[in-house]
């Protein structure tokens, strides 16, 4: 058992302990979240201290990131508030190239003296490691952006919403679940504001204000007599939005099959908790699935994770090249397959785009963490692998001269590296609804929400569960199923993609805590899709008697 598992197990019931420590900072009172932080003129001066120190020590390139990371997390269970956490983390990270080698150092002492010392350390590390460097780092060119800024387009800043309002919302959702027959409910609200200032020797001074929010819960129903329990997770998505995501606007609700309520850019937590309790109870007596081949109808809140694992990770160029071999692994989507220009990753209707600009998504920023303006680009077009995800020091390796703009560090004290942009499946072109899709399926399973997920280190073989499962027979949903998981091979699976609903069903799901690297860092990423059908997929029964 690893040390971090003990922290998770320490039984204090404080949900904050479940978070990666990197997501935490120093605790502050909620009102202090509203303090303005360091003035931008001072940030520029401090960043210049780092850049000038680096250059004077012989660095050929340097960038400085002054970051203020503000987080607020609220945790409740049933009628109790377990924890309200407000944290602030502030400091500077300095990255340099000296002797053709990267060096990085960081400090929370954002004074001239502190910055000079950290910069000297970064240059010293670069020079020390250069003796092991086989090839010097080559950066793709990026023009200096001058003094620019970008802000997540939010309507309500979570920092202006009283904690009591957030607590009330979670407790109301919990009460709704309990009133509808749930035995237990844990709920949480994560809110993040990254205030990032980036400067580089290329002549960029970029000020960004990034917001994210994630409401979530687990509603559990217990049948003591049968010794069974089932948990239904929330149908929310983490979003790159402000507190307006919690408004529960009727215009952003979608009717799923089987009476499901699904949410696009606005979430109704109380309604979802109500339905969750009813479904958790129904799950206790649902039929156990007959294993075999089924046509799967995968709802976006579920399909997003499948996209993440089977397309997002395998097309990260650092994985493909072997830089992550000792941790997450490498990739089946090798350079030769990409170079062939005819590697059929999926069927002809599969179009997967990488994106750092989509409004409401977790990955959206104006510029990445090495000052590259963000954009959208194709990963899979008409089923063929056409590109990867790559940053400034990588694109040369795939014969390109423009960074894709997907470099990110979780904090000022971590070094930035290639991270997954939003990776999304384009909606179908023809009008086609979820009910149309279900009507067309003879023997299938409609899978909604996230469940268990596991994939091998080269991203061939995967097994995914879900939150709720419905059996489809002859074009109709006939009831709920239990013990469902599907196993497939990435290429076979995407080549069995038979039909995609139109854009009226398109929405985002995402992850706040996608992990990568050693020491590990988290990042937040969204995946958009419409409900999609995959034919003839192997479904196993996960029920066991012990």
């Amino acid at each position: 058992m690893k040390r971090r598992d003990f922290v998770q197990m320490s039984g204090l019931g404080a949900g904050a302990l479940l978070l990666p420590t990197s997501m935490m900072g120093n605790s502050i009172v909620a009102e202090a979240l509203l303090a303005p932080g360091m003035d931008i003129i001072v940030k520029k001066r401090m960043a210049d201290v780092a850049l000038n120190t680096a250059k004077s020590m012989g660095a050929t390139y340097a960038d400085a990131r002054i970051g203020r990371y503000l987080n607020q997390y609220v945790f409740t269970r049933e009628d109790k508030v377990q924890n309200v956490v407000n944290t602030e983390s502030f400091g500077i990270g300095i990255r340099v190239i000296a002797n053709g080698t990267w060096g990085f150092a960081s400090t929370n002492d954002v004074s001239e003296d502190g910055i000079q010392k950290a910069t000297q350390q970064a240059v010293a590390i670069a020079k020390a490691n250069s003796k092991f460097q086989k090839e010097p780092v080559v950066l793709a060119p990026v023009s200096g952006q001058g003094e620019v800024s970008w802000k997540t387009p939010i309507q309500k800043d979570f920092k202006n919403v009283p904690v009591s309002e957030k607590v009330d919302l979670l407790l109301n959702a919990n009460a709704a679940a309990l009133d509808n027959g749930a035995n237990f409910v844990n709920s949480a609200l994560f809110m993040v504001n990254e205030q990032k200032y980036f400067a580089s020797t290329d002549g960029s001074y970029i000020d960004q204000d990034v917001h994210r929010i994630w409401p979530t819960f687990g509603v559990t129903a217990v049948d003591q007599a049968e010794g069974k329990f089932k948990t239904r997770q929330a149908m929310s998505a983490p979003m790159g939005m402000g507190y307006e995501y919690m408004d529960g606007l009727a215009s952003e609700k979608l009717e799923g099959a089987a009476g499901l309520k699904l949410y696009r850019n606005s979430y109704d937590m109380v309604e979802d908790a109500t339905i969750a309790a009813q479904q958790a109870k129904e799950m206790l007596t649902a039929k156990s699935v007959d294993p075999g081949k089924y046509d799967l109808v995968l709802e976006p809140n579920h399909l997003g994770l499948t996209i993440h694992e089977s397309v997002g990770h395998p097309t990260e160029l650092d994985r493909v090249l072997g830089y992550e071999a000792n941790y997450a692994g490498t990739s089946f989507a090798t350079i030769d397959k990409w170079k062939s220009k005819n590697f059929k990753y999926g069927s002809d209707i599969v179009n997967i785009v990488a994106d750092k600009t989509q409004v409401g998504s977790l990955g959206a920023v104006g510029y990445d963490d090495e000052g590259v303006p963000c954009k959208q680009w194709d990963i899979i077009r008409n089923g063929v692998l056409v590109n990867y995800q790559a940053i400034r020091d990588q694109v040369k390796m795939i014969d390109q001269d423009e960074s894709h703009g997907c470099c990110y560090a979780q904090s000022w004290n971590d070094v930035q590296f290639q991270r997954m942009p939003n990776i999304s499946l384009e909606a179908g072109n023809e009008p086609y609804s979820v009910s149309d899709m279900i009507k067309d399926v003879e023997k299938g399973i409609y899978i909604v929400g996230r469940g268990s997920y596991s994939i091998d280190q080269q991203r061939y073989n995967f097994q995914f569960g879900g939150t709720v499962f419905y059996e489809i027979k002859n074009g109709e949903i006939v009831g709920m199923l239990n013990d469902v998981a599907y196993q497939s091979n990435t290429q076979e699976f995407w080549n069995s993609c038979a039909k995609i609903c139109d854009k009226s069903d398109y929405r985002l799901m995402g992850s706040f805590f996608d992990g990568k690297g050693q020491p590990p860092q988290v990042s937040a990423v969204s995946h958009g899709s419409s409900t999609t059908r995959f034919n003839d997929i192997n479904v196993i029964n996960t029920g066991r008697s012990v």
Binding site: V81, A325, N326, D456, N461
Partner: protein, 437 residues
């Protein structure tokens, strides 16, 4: 210098406590110095050093509680952090489960700090990388590895007079070796408190040998097989069992450990040879002798003769149930046997040797069913010898089923701070094949 002596730590915390105006106040002071080096493609990719120190103040008024943190320890900063925690406490809703600070406790002296580990230098880390990269490069193999070493201390003081202090050192090392033709992969992990017990060249050789021997693996049908799980592989599934050793979720009816009207303490759940305990004073896997809440960590038996002996009880749940609290431990030790890996292979008519299990995820918390895959060295055994490497499998298995299907326990090995034996298991369930190398 982030590693405070006991007296230095006590002085800072006593100063902070002197500013407290709350009903109760508890202070934790932690610091660490850690260094790392990462390499891939037979070249160093990143290296870093981190120095952290944090003082956490928890203040309470009745059942209202507030926590504040600071990393500067001058008088003004200490005054500010105490005041901030008190302000937070007054704004917080009451927590009906709040238990208040513990009084003074008696702790064993921990044995997990080794000065030589605290003195590791960047040159040492570079040499570790070189001891992987050089032999790999000479054998048409590519190394990717990571070394992290740390020295840290933890201290605690509260308004009821509890004081605790511990310092420890750790070194964790993993390396993946891949043959340059992409058909073979091997991996090894090592962790120690005492750097003199760490031999990176020996470890790297194990991974290189596995990579070379696992080239051009054959596909065999998935199904139920006798397996020999190396300790890293076994730990992957045992961790799932460890996480289930929680009395509260059991009593609430939402755990494998639940049974009608309570939990499975006293019930036989696995083979009678299974014994699982914790002991922070075991010299092979020493750990902290107290936890962050100030509770002493003692030798605790979790499973004996296959019977659940203890589940972890937090202080609130222990009070509700009228029992003594049982804290989660700092390590797990599973009883082993005398057989070496070679002995276990020799006694196997037909089976599979598993180096490691990867991407392990819960499928059904009710039955502790987990899925995941083999990785970095999977071999077919026939008539007592390793015949050939086999392609990786996906498994769907529960540690409960696994420990009921126990054939033989082998020698124990330290993994991630735990002591885990080689295990031979019959009827281990592989459900599909993977092309991954």
């Amino acid at each position: 210098m982030a590693i405070y002596t006991e007296e230095e730590a006590r002085k800072v915390m006593e100063k902070a406590l002197s500013f407290s105006k709350a009903d109760a106040c508890e202070i934790n002071l932690d610091g660490s110095e850690s260094g790392n080096i990462r390499y891939a493609r037979n070249s160093v990719s990143t290296a870093g050093h981190r120095s952290n120190q944090t003082l956490v103040v928890q203040s309470n008024f009745g059942k209202q509680s507030g926590t504040a943190t600071i990393d500067e320890f001058d008088d003004e900063s200490l005054k500010r952090v105490v005041a901030r925690s008190e302000e937070l406490a007054k704004l917080s809703p009451e927590n009906p489960e709040f238990m208040g600070p513990l009084g003074p406790q008696v702790y064993d002296n921990a044995i997990n700090y080794v000065e030589e580990t605290a003195n590791i230098t960047p040159d040492f880390r570079a040499e570790v990388a070189n001891s992987s990269i050089a032999p790999a490069a000479s054998q048409d193999v590519t190394a990717a590895g990571f070394l992290n070493d740390s020295a840290s201390f933890s201290a605690m003081l509260n308004s009821k007079g509890l004081f605790a202090y511990n310092k420890e050192t750790n070194l964790e090392f993993t390396v993946t070796m891949r043959t340059n033709d992409g058909t073979g992969s091997g991996w090894v992990t090592r962790d120690v408190n005492d750097v003199s017990k760490f031999d990176s060249a020996e470890a790297s050789k194990v991974a290189i040998d596995k990579a070379v021997r696992s080239r051009e693996a054959k596909a065999i049908e998935p199904g139920k097989y006798t397996v020999i799980l190396e300790p890293s592989a076994g730990l992957g599934l045992l961790s799932g069992l460890g996480r289930a050793m929680n009395a509260r979720t059991a009593d609430e009816g939402r755990s494998f450990m639940s049974k009608e009207g309570g939990n499975k303490i006293g019930e036989k759940i696995v083979d009678e040879r299974v014994k699982l305990w914790s002991d922070p004073l075991n010299p092979a896997v020493p750990g902290a002798t107290w936890n962050g809440a100030g509770q002493p960590l003692k030798k605790t038996t979790w499973i004996e003769d296959g019977i659940v002996k203890n589940l972890a009880y937090g202080r609130f749940w222990a009070k509700e149930k009228g029992v003594e609290p049982v804290p989660f431990p700092s390590n797990f030790i599973m009883a082993g046997g005398d057989d070496s890996l070679e002995d276990l292979i020799k006694s196997t008519k037909k089976g599979i040797l598993v180096t490691r299990l990867w991407y392990i995820r819960s499928v059904d918390p009710q039955t502790l069913l987990y899925t995941g895959l083999t990785r970095d060295g999977t071999f077919y055994i026939e008539n007592g010898v390793i015949k050939y490497p086999v392609k990786n499998f996906r498994f769907n298995e529960s540690p409960i089923i696994m420990l009921n299907n126990l054939e033989t326990l082998g020698q124990q090995v330290r993994v991630d701070g735990n002591l885990i034996p080689y295990m031979k298991i019959r009827d281990f369930t592989f459900t599909s094949l993977s092309d991954a190398v």
